[in-house]
């Protein structure tokens, strides 16, 4: 009698059982699947954004801005440090590349200056770094050939700054996304300075993109009353002040209205603890209310008490959104911004202020958004293609190989079950190209059986008995099957390695499909044939 090891029988049953068990939750609604007892598998196939609808955004964090700001703040702390050491004669203090340089005129003071600058490095670069000791230093201070004292920031420190900026950005983006009520977003770092944002099922991608991408750095400034903005625009900007455009208002020529504001920050948005959209009690226009923390509230209270009657401006990302006159001291630590907001605009600004500012600008590099309608259409089309493809292949196999074709078809069904079981178990993402991969697998999966059956036919023709023909057919086809499948698997794995997004989904289903099809075609079909042989003991094979 033909031999089929007991452990193989058990393996086939165990694998098929788990395949069915892991596929089953996909036939339930999400809620019912979640309610299954904990010992049952309840994971469903994860649908890619191209099938369930949603936005895939790849954004770049403006890391170079952060580095520039930090180098400038190093430069600005060198000035008082030198003054403290009694060094007043120095030239050329400035940022060059990734370093800050200064020339101390008095050679006797150079040693003191070096020490002071080294101390700044310790405080501002090494002090805040979250890297373990050892390895490359974070900064170096030395006197170069031209007699300049150079504080150079190493690549390690630059990398540390970049990573921190990206982490901080991710944190803020997550807060903002959570506030918009998107369910199960994915926000992760990609490479050194990029973040990948995946937002399933959003309705208004443009609005969410706007919310995520806005830096939202808010500061309060006093207007400079010494010179009118018009005069300042003629070129007479007083020191310590600067011209800032209005966010909305434009004059007849289409140029934005300008304000002359003090550079000094009165209070900053960092001191905000809460912010809500609201309506003005008198005008009933949308406004944004805010509340400062203790420090901010005190600063704001003092500033407003001393300056009743003066104009101050609320600046957001380099533009003035509101410029009210201080009517009375604002002591409670809270206030409201009444710009020309729409209801949605007020909501969005309040959200941004609550979540805090981004450390640097965020630029979108790639966007792929699929609406829920198209996603559902794609699923429906994929399902139909799968089913019709399956029916065609099943009919063809049954016609070509008769009973053995039916065995192969049973194996094919298990193959599809195993693919879905595998997808659910691995929690791999099913995408539209992934569905194409499944349909393609349906067509190619029967290849292993075709190879075996053709070989059996040949062996029958040379006059073997059924059992020996089957034995020989399997034995001889197996190396070919492995050779043929491995080459496709190589292509699929490389596709996974280099591919992105939806294409990876194709590589995933194709790879799983190749592995499961080898298993089902060799093991499942063979088991069915062995069972049939034992029961019928046929003289002639029906292939």
């Amino acid at each position: 009698m033909i031999y089929f090891a007991r452990w193989k029988v058990i393996l086939v049953f165990v694998v098929c059982f788990f395949g069915v068990a892991f596929t089953a939750p996909n036939f339930l609604s999400e809620k019912d699947a979640g309610a299954l007892p904990s010992w049952l598998p309840k994971q469903q196939v994860v649908l890619g954004l191209d099938l369930q609808g949603g936005s895939h955004l790849l954004a770049e964090v403006g890391v170079s801005e952060i580095i520039k700001v930090r180098l400038e703040s190093l430069r600005d702390s060198i000035r008082p440090a030198l003054r403290k050491e009694g060094i007043r004669k120095y030239r050329g203090l400035g940022v060059r590349g990734n370093s800050v340089t200064v020339r101390v005129t008095d050679p006797k003071k150079e040693e003191i200056a070096l020490r002071a600058i080294r101390q700044i490095g310790e405080q501002l670069i090494a002090g805040g770094a979250n890297v373990v000791d050892g390895g490359e230093p974070l900064f170096e201070v030395e006197k170069n050939d031209q007699g300049l004292i150079v504080l150079s920031v190493t690549d390690r420190a630059i990398k540390d700054w970049s990573i921190k900026a990206v982490e901080q950005t991710i944190e803020v983006v997550r807060l903002r996304v959570d506030e918009t009520g998107v369910r199960e977003p994915t926000i992760q770092r990609q490479g050194l300075d990029r973040i990948l944002i995946q937002l399933p099922g959003i309705k208004d991608p443009e609005r969410i993109k706007r919310i995520i991408g806005k830096v939202a750095k808010m500061t309060f400034h006093f207007a400079d009353p010494r010179v009118s903005p018009e005069e300042a625009m003629q070129g007479r900007v007083p020191p310590g002040s600067t011209l800032i455009p209005d966010a909305e208002e434009k004059d007849a020529a289409g140029n934005p209205r300008m304000y002359l504001l003090r550079k000094k920050v009165m209070v900053s948005g960092e001191n905000l603890v809460d912010s809500q959209p609201s309506f003005d009690q008198r005008t009933n226009e949308p406004v944004v209310t805010f509340r400062f923390d203790a420090v901010g509230g005190r600063k704001f209270g003092v500033a407003t008490s001393k300056n009743v009657g003066r104009i101050f401006a609320i600046k957001l990302d380099g533009k003035v959104i509101s410029a009210p006159v201080i009517q009375e001291p604002i002591l409670g630590g809270s206030g409201q911004i009444s710009g020309s907001f729409t209801v949605e605009g007020a909501q969005d600004l309040a959200l941004l202020l609550r979540a805090g500012a981004l450390p640097a600008s965020l630029t979108y590099l790639e966007e792929r958004t699929v609406g829920p309608g198209l996603g559902a259409d794609s699923i429906a089309a994929g399902k139909i293609a799968c089913i019709i493809g399956l029916i065609l292949v099943v009919m063809f196999m049954a016609t070509a190989y008769g009973l053995f074709g039916l065995f192969a078809n049973v194996a094919l069904l298990f193959n599809i079950i195993l693919i879905f079981g595998g997808l659910s178990f691995l929690q791999a993402t099913l995408t539209l190209p992934g569905i194409a991969g499944i349909v393609l697998t349906i067509g190619m999966a029967v290849d292993a059986n075709v190879l075996v059956f053709e070989r059996i036919r040949e062996e029958v023709r040379v006059g073997r008995t059924p059992i020996s023909a089957i034995e020989a057919g399997y034995a001889r086809a197996i190396t070919t099957i492995i050779d043929a499948n491995l080459t496709t698997l190589i292509a699929a794995l490389l596709l996974y390695q280099f591919g992105s997004g939806p294409i990876r989904g194709f590589a995933v289903t194709l790879s799983i499909g190749i592995v499961t099809s080898m298993f089902t075609a060799i093991m499942v079909t063979r088991l069915l044939i062995v069972i049939w042989l034992r029961r019928k003991q046929p003289d002639v094979l029906p292939v």
Partner: protein
């Protein structure tokens, strides 16, 4: 008793393939030359994945989208080249906007502008925008993927077969890949990430098909030491013909279902795969095996010493 199968390809076919090899070579050489020529002259119609730009699919209310009026609205914008086409059904329109000068920010501004022009009366089914940075990266990733796949397959073939077979398989593989690219250039189908996936899968399928025939050739080389090579090759092709055709048919059936029913987005992908399966089947039979004739196969080194015409004993 049991239900018998039907032999679509009769057993013991004796079709002559090898005698026509010059014709096949000529045809394939012409196909490759034409593909390369068309590629050089027309170039590929790169999609936004590789070129950057914006792609928006909308569905309009009512019976039919008024593409003409949309087109005139875009004419007055400063978005550069904007192409509109019906997509799948009369209410659906696919809008492609060229990559904007001025980097990633300009690109995002253009997306907002397109949506402003189209208004909120239409429903946005798909919005894709790829900036210059990412499109460059995707392009090179695609190139590396194809090269790496061909290299890895080459390595595998080299490991499993003698060099003559490896060379034959690679010629067939390159033939299939190049002619697929030629087809995309000729029909100006959109060449995007899915196309790269299709090309890689075609490479896998082509090798798969070739390997099966080669396995048989190798087996017969061991079995029949004295049989003239061209006859031996011809027999090997005929012996595996039934399998080759059967597998191609089942794969084509599945792909046809995908092409006709799978939706607009993967139509070009399915078309490429259909072409790949057909050309891959042709190349294994008519190109890879006949080529072996010219690659001085060493018949002495094969293991076993069975006499001519006597089949190896099964274990």
């Amino acid at each position: 008793m049991a239900w018998h199968g039907f032999n679509f390809i009769p057993a013991d076919t004796k079709y002559s393939f090898l005698p026509y090899r010059k014709l096949f070579f000529l045809f394939s050489a012409a196909l490759i030359l034409a593909s390369v020529g068309i590629f050089l002259v027309k170039g590929l119609n790169f999609g936004i994945d590789f070129k950057g730009g914006i792609l928006i699919e909308i569905r309009t209310a009512g019976e039919k989208a008024d593409i003409a009026s949309m087109r005139s609205k875009f004419k007055n914008s400063d978005l550069g080249e904007v192409a509109l086409q019906e997509f799948g059904r009369p209410t659906d329109v696919l809008i492609r906007v060229q990559r904007q000068d001025g980097g990633e920010k300009a690109q995002q501004a253009a997306v907002a502008k397109v949506k402003e022009i189209l208004g909120d009366k239409v429903s946005y089914r798909r919005t894709e925008s790829v900036g210059p940075k990412v499109s460059q990266e995707l392009f090179w990733d695609g190139v590396y993927a194809v090269l790496a796949a061909i290299f890895a397959i080459l390595l595998y073939i080299w490991f499993r077969f003698e060099w003559q077979f490896g060379l034959g398989a690679i010629v067939a593989l390159s033939h299939d890949v190049l002619s697929t690219i030629g087809l995309f250039a000729l029909l100006q189908l959109e060449f995007n990430l899915s196309t790269v996936a299709a090309v890689l899968t075609i490479a896998g399928y082509s090798i798969n098909d070739t390997v099966v025939v080669f396995d048989r050739v190798r087996e017969n080389l061991r079995k029949y030491k004295k049989l003239p090579l061209d006859e031996l090759f011809n027999n090997s092709i005929n012996e595996t013909l039934s399998r080759t055709v059967m597998t191609s048919v089942t794969t084509l059936l599945a792909l046809l279902a995908l092409y006709i029913l799978g939706g607009e987005i993967i139509k070009d992908f399915s078309l490429a795969m259909i072409w790949g399966v057909i050309i891959g089947t042709y190349s294994s039979i008519c190109l890879a095996v006949p080529l072996l004739l010219y690659l001085s196969i060493d018949r002495g080194s094969s293991v076993g010493d069975s006499k001519e015409g006597v089949a190896e004993q099964a274990p």
